[in-house]
Amino acid sequence: MKKQAIIIYLFVVALLLASCRKDVELLLSEVTSTDPGASAAGRYAGLYLLNEGNMGSNKATLDFYDFVTGNYHRNIYAERNPSVPKELGDVGNDLQRYGSRLYAVINASNKIEVMDARTTKSIGRIEIPNCRHITFQEGYAYVTSYAGPIEIDPEYKQKGYVAKIDTATLKVLDTCIVGYQPDGIAVSNGNIYVANSGGYRGAGKSTNYERTVSVISIATFREITQIDVDLNLHRIKTDSRGDLWVSSRSDYRDSPSRLYFIDHRKQAVTDTIDLPVSNFAITGDSLYLIGMGELAQRADYFSIVNTATREVVNSGFITDGTDKGLETPYGITVHPETRDIYITDAGDYINPGYLYRFNREGKKIWSVQTGDIPAHFVFLPKNINMSPL
């Protein structure tokens, strides 16, 4: 008789030993110390990194690397804005600074979070469904969105649009319809350039992908032309001469991903770099790119293109072998002064990633754990009134 009583008691004790539920606490930031190196001396105070977080996980988080102290602060948004229900949101798709403000495009939360660039305290939000990328010009923000006109159509004919937002009031002033599922956006010489992807249409049927860059006149805010490029365009950036570099994702099957050059005067593709590109960053006349496909199979996975000569000048800018141990190179930026290279590894997309800092010779300085899918960078100037990069 005693025996079963003891057993029963053990069950309950075991349940009790496993602890009871407490109030759910807000997550505070975590700090990792690194060697700040020489970058502390420059014009920049630090570097923001937006982690996307897998869709549905609501794990978009913001990290900050302090150039002065060398401290890496992981997940600062919730701590600075504790009263925002469900924190920063779901899928951080872009991060930019304009003036004294930081703009985080949170794709699956259908909003752009506007923060003070120094404190990351929330200033407001701009509601744009399925927003993708953001750029700025003369007091206005321009945001691409997949969410076209609302109409039920089994052939999915919804085009995307670019929204024009007054950065003073954070109100959407106008929208301009572009191609299907517009992604990257860049400004050059009075025009807005939008990389259309057609990503919702092309799965299963490559010919359905978009292949154009939409050109919008800033003056009229209407599309003036479309430039034919290649399937499934992704990122677009302006170089120091006002010309544009655009990457195609390809159809993931037969046609390869590539990098294209658009001459802003001719409004046409005039050159191509025959490298598959998943991401790139332009600093000075150097375009640093991350390749696509099997990392181990490509020696030119991390290459530098000279944007003036439009030639590959370095086909392996990571020189110490660190690249061989990466899983999913994802985000990239280059310090404008030191030319230190920052690259993220997004790993398996569902677990924390890693940030790698390399010096300009391509040797690793340090690496640090980030949030999930570390992706988008913004340098924070010491003098906040500096013009945006």
Partner: protein, 686 residues
Amino acid sequence: MNSLKLILFCVAAVILPGIAHAARPAASLQPVAGGMDLADSLYLPEVVVSAKVQREIIPAQTLSGNELKGLNSFSVADAIRYFSGVQIKDYGGIGGLKTVDIRSMGSNHMGVFYDGIQLGNAQNGQIDLGKYSLDNLESVTLYNGQKSEILQSARDFGSSGSIYLRTRYPRFESDKDYNLRGILRSGSFGLINPSLLWEQKLSTSLSATFNTEWVSANGKYAYRYRRIHPVTHEVVYDTTATRENGDVNALRLEGGLHGFVPSGNWKLKTYFYSSERGIPGAIVNNVWKRSQRQWDRNFFTQGSFLKSVSPRYDILINAKYAHDRMRYLNPDTTLMYIDNSFTQQEAYLSLVNKYALLSDWDISLAADWQWNGLQSDLDGFREPTRYTTLIAAATAVDFGRVRLQGSILGSWINESAAGDEQRRSAREQFSPALFLTYKPLDSHNLHIRAFYKQSFRMPTFNDLYYTDIGNVDLDPEESHQYNLGAAYDKSYWQGVIRHWEVKADAYLNRVTNKIIAVPKGNGMYRWMMTNLGQAEIKGVDLSASAISEVHKEWLLKLRMTYTHQQASDLTRRPNKELEKITYGGQIAYIPWHSGSLTAGLQHRLWQLNYSFIYVGERYRSSANTPENYEQPWYTSDLSLSRSFTNDRFNSKLTLEVNNLFSQDYEVVLNYPMPKRNYKLTLTVEI
């Protein structure tokens, strides 16, 4: 408020052992096999003890009869939570997806059998147990390894773990040739749930049964997110909202014929289920409502025939045809508009022979043949067809104190897929299993048992062929299970305690070639299925139950389970720094500690049931970091019922309160669970 709950819980936990000690319950529900069972049943007051001619080598966990009804469970998934070694992924609400993971091997390793024949889902391998009603079920039984019988189809040998759902078998009182039962449930979530059962005796050897059920619910419930600042302890936000788009409207129709032939029986069953439901989706910042919808239409018809051809030779024939259609709609035009339909078909035939070589030595040979096809209007979908041949040879030997059972299953799977290019693939797998039980003492019902089983799960059609994600080169995912355990039970013909039993098992599972999604290419946010995963699970399952006549006409039944699992993700990764974060981490959503307690008290026409579930702390991914930490949750459910009887009919009224302390919790990240909710059930039997 919270501290009050804590105190209540802790007080309950301290008092309960005391009650148990005083009450000394005991007794026994012998597990009854899923398929046909001609067990002699002995009816004790509300306790069914079924004695099988040949006891199972590895006893199962079973919920049946009143115990099953007393669990406040709406679906099979709710009931299975009370088994040890099982974790449920519950996306919340009446219509929400609920899948089962047995001993952390992954939900695709679980076989679910409905009246003896497996429910298939070649498309994604998952059976949503939230869709299976308890309304018409007589028992739910869980087997680790496999059902340790040998007169069973080859598919019964095929899963790492199995759940057998057995529908009500028509039984008639001597002076009646029909039974009628109507049930009406209503309560929270806007639930309206009527059902009707009609059983008709057609002759002494033939009876028919018909059952229909309708579930309608708006699925709305309040949920709450509340966060406390860890330093100041102030509430930083506290938001209560209503869960939207969780509505469900489902109709189930089921008909069957049961017949007897000399030294044998047969049955036929046809099942139809049609539903429309909202997919409530994840609650994330700025998105509190979703609009995706899903329609399901499931149809199957199945039959089985069992006969003893001679005293030594038995045959069993099973056949099935299933046709399942699923449509998914995303009407939200701000997102990718999706309207896709998938149609699956399955044809299945099985023949089993069992021969008694000696009175204590049986052998069997089973051959199954199965065809699966999947069609879809999804762009670029390569419509696959799969032919599976399964041959299982098994033997059972009874040495008296030691009983042994061994089986080997051979699987030959051929596939082809239409589309861009014709693809064919052939796979061959062998799955051995060995079960052993030892009864060391004559005078005591102590059994020591052990098993080893190797099994595999095929990549699903989605894993292999889904547009852009599928990888046709996938290998099957394999599991290896080692189990050692003991069971003890004791019955008493009189006294306060009538029966008690305890079971304990320790196990080690290895999952290799685990199919996981990994990023495809780079920076592209696209996935591909691979065989890269590895996992190792060390666990202990404990359970105990007791039946006691506490006082004259006061019957108490207690049941407890406890599970400890250390489920390690041993997946190697290219980036060693990232590997350090996840390698060896506890697998997503597997708690180290979990358990349940149920207590049923019966007095004349009254019955009071209390059920408690505890799921300990766990992480939402193998990266066991603070941001992935999930707190324990535990819910208490209470139900009170009273029966009314007269000459013409029996009826029963039941009031349930679920999540009594209104705990706000999530089983799956961003899928909030309901707060306290109620249900009222009226049952009338004629």
